[in-house]
């Protein structure tokens, strides 16, 4: 693999992402169903309000409250921004006392609601338009809403002298009902997913909707680090996600809410509060107000969330209660999502380990096992890179690239470290991740040792076999020599030694070059030097060697043939011996000529019979001997 291919392959979406797709589809189905139920509930609720709510609708708009009293309970205009009560909001401002119109609006709102999600924001904008002039309204809201007195829609109505008490009660009931509805709807939406990331995103957007705020930030509590980590935002983006804003409980306004396990509200100039903590990549100082609440599940801190508005805003007690209620429900959802994610992760981990076990036990080849281990490690840990580093420092199967975080897990075998599993990632590793890596490392150690043992066994067997076969060939050569008669014992031994050395020379060339083929020129040169060395008197040897290569066994045959013929020429020839190795018409031609007396009559002897057999059977060629002013031996065989 080239490094480009390594990159390409590391960028390829791994299997788990396809699995994610399935899971998401599942979740979408669940979501769809939940949404259907939520809509049905919403319709029922709407119908109930319409049924006995018409006079209520009118009454709710009647200016009732004396300043400072029950002011928390209304401020419908603010809540109407949420888009959950668009019908009512418009009724308030435009169509007072016109039930038909109100119904129409309600239906319209319901249609809008059905579209949900994507249209939410647009819908919100659309609904905000008619309300815009009324948003900044003071006084009768108990001073919550700073702005012009004249612009408050309630202002006019409020001045009508009506009996405040029944109306206030009704308004309170109405506000409570609406908060209940907001709570129900928010929770239904948030519960529609089991994916933690998705849940947190939903929490951020739905809470912002429910309370009609400009932004909502959701923090999760990382117990191990004792930190609140920003996980989802609505309204404001974290500009650079490389450094996720995180703070300890007690740090920052939201941190204080988490530490004290109680809501913290600052109506205006929140960023000037001494508790405020600014993150470079999170533009929070644009917000005036903040309401932060802890997310508690059975008194256990799961996180914290806050809502922000650009304009100063005093959140009412009811709103605070609503947010606290939502947060406690969200805590359950987060717990479920965490459990679900944990279960999913366990499954993925087990799958990864099973995959590795299979690869290790099925494959006879170490390389394959190691490759599978590295690839599965990358996939199951969403790593940017992984590799196995062996004892000798050799890196096996490096994949991907380095990340911001890295874990090096030792591979141990019988209490001895035999290597390391290295895994890189841009996100930090959790305890679970490290436990999985440890398990993988254990498998890798087993695979390595297993593979090495197999290799040792196979290699040892092969070597033994070759050695025994070579010894057999040597024994056979000696036996062949011993059967020939009328030979000087000293010469017989010398010839035998030369033959054995000829075989050794082939192995020497083979081991030096670590190739399967032997260069004949080099081999012949070596043999010539070896044979000439033993001579007492000087001989003139000329050689012309073309580059020809042969496989191991044929090279051995040729070495023996050459040794016999050359030895013969040195012994019986004159002062000059010429050697030529050439390639002609796809055939190799080896010629050895001397200027001696030549041979007369039928040639015989152990050496020559070996040569004839080798040329015929091993080289598949022919040998010709010509006696013409010396002996000329020519061996021709296919290349």
């Amino acid at each position: 693999m080239t490094s480009d291919e390594v990159w390409a392959s590391s960028c390829r979406p791994p299997d788990h992402q396809r699995d994610d797709g399935d899971r998401r589809q599942e979740q979408r189905a669940v979501q769809h169903e939940v949404r259907g139920i939520a809509q049905a509930a919403r319709k029922l609720l709407a119908r109930a309000v319409v049924a006995d709510g018409e006079p209520l609708g009118e009454l709710s708009c009647v200016p009732i409250l004396p300043a400072g009293d029950g002011s928390h309970d209304h401020c419908p205009s603010q809540q109407s921004k949420s888009g959950h009560e668009p019908g009512r909001a418009e009724v308030d401002s435009e169509t007072i006392g016109q039930p038909e119109a109100e119904d129409q609006h309600r239906e319209q709102a319901e249609r809008d609601d059905r579209d949900d999600g994507a249209h939410g924001a647009e819908q919100q904008r659309h609904l905000a338009r008619p309300l815009a002039p009324h948003r900044r309204q003071p006084k009768h809201c108990g001073g919550d809403c700073p702005g012009d007195v004249e612009e408050c829609p309630h202002q006019v109505e409020e001045q009508q002298p009506l009996d405040a008490h029944p109306a206030a009660t009704i308004r309170r009931v109405d506000a409570t009902a609406r908060h209940l509805r907001l709570l129900t709807e928010t929770i239904a939406a948030v519960n529609s997913s089991l994916d933690l990331e998705e849940v947190l995103e939903l929490v951020a957007s739905k809470v912002a909707d429910a309370l009609g705020t400009d932004a909502c930030f959701v923090y999760l509590y990382d117990e191990r680090a004792d930190e609140l980590v920003l996980r989802a935002t609505h309204g404001s983006r974290v500009e650079e996600m490389t450094r996720t804003p995180r703070m300890r409980p007690g740090e920052g306004i939201t941190g204080v809410a988490a530490a004290e396990r109680a809501p913290v509200m600052i109506p205006a100039q929140a960023h000037l509060d001494p508790r405020f903590k600014l993150f470079a990549n999170l533009p929070e100082d644009e917000y005036e107000s903040i309401l932060a609440v802890p997310i508690l599940a059975r008194n256990k801190l799961e996180g914290a969330l806050n809502v922000r508005t650009r304009d100063p805003r005093e959140f009412t007690d009811a709103e605070i209660e609503l947010l606290v209620a939502i947060a406690s429900q969200v805590a359950q959802t987060i717990e479920h999502a965490k459990l679900y994610a944990g279960a999913q992760r366990r499954v993925a981990e087990l799958e990864a380990l099973a995959k590795i076990s299979e690869a290790v036990s099925e494959s006879l080849y170490l390389e394959e096992s190691l490759e599978a281990i590295v690839k599965t490690t990358m996939e199951s840990l969403h790593a940017t890179g992984a590799a196995l580093v062996l004892e000798d420092g050799k890196i096996a199967w490096p994949e991907g690239r380095a990340g911001a975080h890295a874990v090096r897990m030792p591979l141990r075998w019988k209490r001895r470290q035999i290597g390391e599993l290295v895994c890189d990632r841009d996100t930090p590793f959790s305890d679970d991740d490290e436990a999985l890596l440890e398990a993988i490392a254990h498998h890798a150690a087993v695979a390595l040792e297993h593979g090495r043992a197999v290799m040792r066994g196979v290699l040892a067997q092969e070597i033994h076999h070759r050695v025994k076969n070579n010894l057999q060939a040597v024994a056979s050569l000696l036996r062949l020599q011993s059967r020939s008669e009328n030979v000087d014992p000293h010469k017989a031994l010398q010839d035998s030694v030369n033959r054995i050395l000829a075989i050794a020379a082939v192995h020497e060339v083979l081991t030096e070059h670590r190739e399967d083929d032997v260069d004949l020129g080099e081999l012949v040169d070596r043999l010539r030097a070896m044979l000439v060395q033993g001579l007492v008197s000087g001989k003139d040897v000329s050689a012309e060697l073309a580059p020809v290569s042969l496989a191991g066994q044929q090279a051995t045959a040729l070495a023996l043939v050459f040794t016999e013929l050359f030895q013969n020429a040195l012994e019986h020839g004159g002062a000059h011996v010429s050697i030529a190795l050439a390639q002609r018409d796809g055939k190799v031609v080896l010629t050895i000529a001397d200027d001696g007396a030549g041979i007369h009559g039928e040639s015989s002897g152990t050496g020559l019979s070996i040569v004839r057999a080798l040329v015929r059977d091993e080289l598949g060629g022919e040998i010709t001997l010509e006696s013409d002013g010396g002996l000329r031996a020519e061996v021709v065989f296919p290349a």
């Binding site: 076969n469 010894l471 057999q472 060939a473 024994a475 056979s476 050569l477 036996r479 019979s609 059977d617």
Partner: protein, 194 residues
Amino acid sequence: MTKVLIAEDETIIRLDLKGLLEGAGFEVCAEARDGEEAVRLARETEPDVALLDVKMPHLDGIEAARRILDERPIPIVMVTAYGERELVSRAVEAGVFGYLVKPFRETDLLPAIETARARHDELAALREEAESLAEALAARKAIERAKGILMQREGLTEQEAFARLRKASQISGRPLKVVAEALIATLEPGSSRT
């Protein structure tokens, strides 16, 4: 003279084997360089004994032995540098009678061949005996059956029935078994031959 086929891919070793066998009074009728050639030459030259190397190109010695034995049972001795248990059991399964591990000595080779031949002859004798016993058993069964039929149909005693069968055999000049089978086929045509 005993004819031997040798199959060995290494020329030197083959030359040595040939020399050894010829020195010991065998006739080397064929020299093969691989398994396929060994099977072909065994068919053409009909050797009395085959000496096969295990590791050979094209077809390994054990498979070659199996094919040679399928065509004609002869004593076969395997020669190999492997001393593996698994290989030995494979060779035995193929019907090989002897096993020689490289590097071998002259004194190992001849006894291995002799042992293989002796075992082969022994086995051949056993096979023959088993065959004749099976034949005898079949005859005995047929006769018993025929006797039973006669006893039932003619109301004869066992001895009388046997006497009648023997007489029929004597008159027709055919073995008792053939007579019995003919009788069963005639009187109980539906029944299969024993």
